[in-house]
Amino acid sequence: MMSLTLEGVVLIGALGLIVIGALGMAISNHLFRMLLALVLAESGANLLIVLSGYRVGASAPILGFGDPTAPMVDPVPQVLVLTAIVIGVGVQALAVALLLKVYRVYGTLNVRELRDRMDADVATAAGVEADASQDAPAGERPLPPVPAHASVGSGGFGRRGPVPFPPQSDERRP
C-alpha cells in the first residue's frame, strides 16, 4: 500500500478475517472453535462485498439522508451483504443445533476424541445396527486383506474342485 486509504485498510481487514477464519477451520481441534472460525471468515467475506461497492467520497444510498448532491455508494453490494449476513446466521444457528446433538450423543466435541468414539461406537455395534457403517475401523488397520476375487485359485493354477485326497505334490517338495 502506497498510501493509507480507507479501502486499503478495510481490504486488509477483510482479507485478514478470511485468512484467519480459514486458518482456524484448518487447525481447530474443537468443533465449536471451528464454528467460531467460520463466523470470522464469513464476516471477512461480507466486508469484502461491501467494500466492492464502496465509492470514495460518496454518501449512503438513502434519499434525503445526507448531502443530496453527493454521489451515492453502490447499493447493490449492500443488499447482497444483508442477504449474506442473514444466511450466515441461519447456517450458524443450524451448526449450533448440530453441535448440541453431537455433544449429547458422543459427549465430546474434540475432533480426535470424537473420531475415536465414533469408531468405538461402530465397532461395538458392528453387525447389530443396520445403518451404522462397517467401514470405520478400517483406518486403523495397516492394509486391507486381499479381496476374495483376487485370491481365486490361490494355489495358482486352478487346483480347485473337490479337495484332493493326498497332499499335493508341491507341498511335499523338499
Binding site: I18, G21, A22, M25, L31, M34, L35, L38, A41, E42, G44, A45, N46, L48, I49, L51, S52, G53, D74, V76, P77, L80, T83, A84, I87, G90, V91, L94, A95, L98, L99, K101, V102, V105, Y106, L114, M118, D121, V122, A125, G127, E129, A130, D131, A132, S133, Q134, D135, A138, P144, P147, A148, H149
Partner: protein, 516 residues
Amino acid sequence: MISDLAVPNLFVAQAGQLVLPVVLPLLAAFLMQPLARVSTALARGLGPLVLILCAWITAQLWIQLGDAPFTLAIGGFAPPLGILFYADGIALLFALAVPVFALLFWPGSESGGGAGADSRPGSDQADRDQAARRDALVLLLVAATTGLALSGDLFNLYVFYELAAVASFGLVALSGTGRAQVATFRYLMISAFGSVLALAGIAILYMQTGTLNLGQLAQLAPETLNNPIGSAAFALMLIGFGVKAELFPVNTWVPEVYAGAPARVSALLAGLVSKLAVLVIVRLLVLIFPQPEAAQMLLVLGVLGVLTGEFAAWRAKDFPRMLAFSSIGQLGIVFVAFSIGGEIGLLAGLAVALHHLIVKSALFGLAVRWNGSLEALAGAARTSPLGAALFVLFALSLVGVPPLPGFWAKLTVIVGLAERGTPLDITALMSILLVTAVEASYLFRVAIRLYQDNPDPVARHARRDLGVSALLGAVLVAATLGLRPVADVLGAGAAQLGDRAGYIETVFPSHVAGKD
C-alpha cells in the same frame, strides 16, 4: 381486479409463470408445519400435490414456449437491474426433473425421523412435527434446485445454492444417528467454507464488472475477466459451488453423508442436487469464463475426483458408501467432460450427468433396504430378484457396457478427450479407462455376492422403492432403444447450453446489446 385478470394470467402458459415451480414449493413448505397441526392428512398430501403441479406447469411452459430460450425478468425490472430467469432446453429439462425425482424419492415414513439409532418412542405429536419438517425441507430443496436450474443471476444462484445446502443439511440429519449428525456438521463446515470463498469470488467479479446478471457478465467477460483476476474469481467460485457438485477436494463429506442419510435423501442429493450444482458451474464456465485456464482447473480436479472416488469405492465395505464413492468418481467424469468444452464436451457432460442422475438415484433407491454392509447382501437376489436384476442392469450401464446409455456417454467423453489430445487430456482419458476397470471389479463383486447362496438374506425391497428403481431402469432401457432421438435432443440441448452469443441475445435483445 383479480377476477378479470386472474384467469388468463394463470391458466394460459406465459413466461411469468416460470417462477411458480420455485415459489409454490416454498409456499407449501412455509405452510407445511402449521397445516400439520390442523390436519395431518392435508399436510401429507400437500407436498406431492405441489410437486405434481410444478411438474405440470414446467411441462406446459416447455411445450408452449420452449422452442427457443426465453427469459423472465422477475418483478418486471429490465434485465441487468433485476433478477432474471433464463430457460433454455437444459434448464427446463432439469426444472422438470427436479419435481419428478423429488416425487419418486419422496421420503416416506420408513426412512423418516424414527429410524435413528437413538430414537426413543416419541409422542405422536413429535412424530408428526418431524414428518412435517421433513416434507417442508424436501419442498425447500425442490424450490432451491429448480431455482438453480433457471436462475440467470449470479447472486440469486448463490442464494438458491445455499438454500439447497441448508435444506439438505436438515434432510441428512433426519436419520437421527450420531454419525449422521457428525457427518452433517462436517458437510456444513465444508459447505460454509466454500460459500465464503464463493462470496469472495462474487465480490471480485462484481468489483471487476459491476453487474451480477449472467448475460451481462458474459458480454463483459472477454474484456474484463479474461485475466488472472477472472481466473481467480472462477477458482474461488469453483470451490464454493463445487461442494455440492462433489468436486474433488471439497467432497470429503460425501461418503459419510450418503452413508448416514436416509437412502432416499441420498438418492436426491447424489442424483439431483449434485447435477444442478454442476449445471451452475457449467453455466459459469460457458458464459463467463471461457478461458482455457478455467477449463483446465476443472479437468485436473475432475481427474483427481475420478481417481480418488473410484479407488476409494473399491474398498468400501457398505453399500451406500460404495455408491457414494462411485458417485464422486462419476461426477469427476462429468467435470472432465465439461472441461473439454465445445459442443462435444457439453454433450458428453450432459450425457454422463443425466445418466448418472438416473442410475445413481435408482441405486440409492435400492439402498433403502440394502443399507448395511456389503457382506450382508449375500443372497439378496433370492428375496428380491428384481432388485438384484436391476442392480446388475445399473451396474452394467454405470461401468459402460454397450449398448447401454452409460457406454455411449463414456465413449463421448473419451472421444472428446482424444480429439483435443493434449497430454493432460490423454492423462484424463487413461485415468478414466483405468478406474472403469476398477469400477467394474467392485460393482460386480457385489453383483456376484447378490447371487450367492445364503440361508439368511436381507429383507426384500418395499414395493415402492422397487417400483421407482424399475421405472428408472425402464427409462434406461428406453434410452438404449431410442438412442438416436435421445442423442439428438441432448445434442440440441448442448448446442443451446454452449451458445454464449445466444444467451446474451436472449437476455438483451439485439438493440440493447451494445449497452454499457
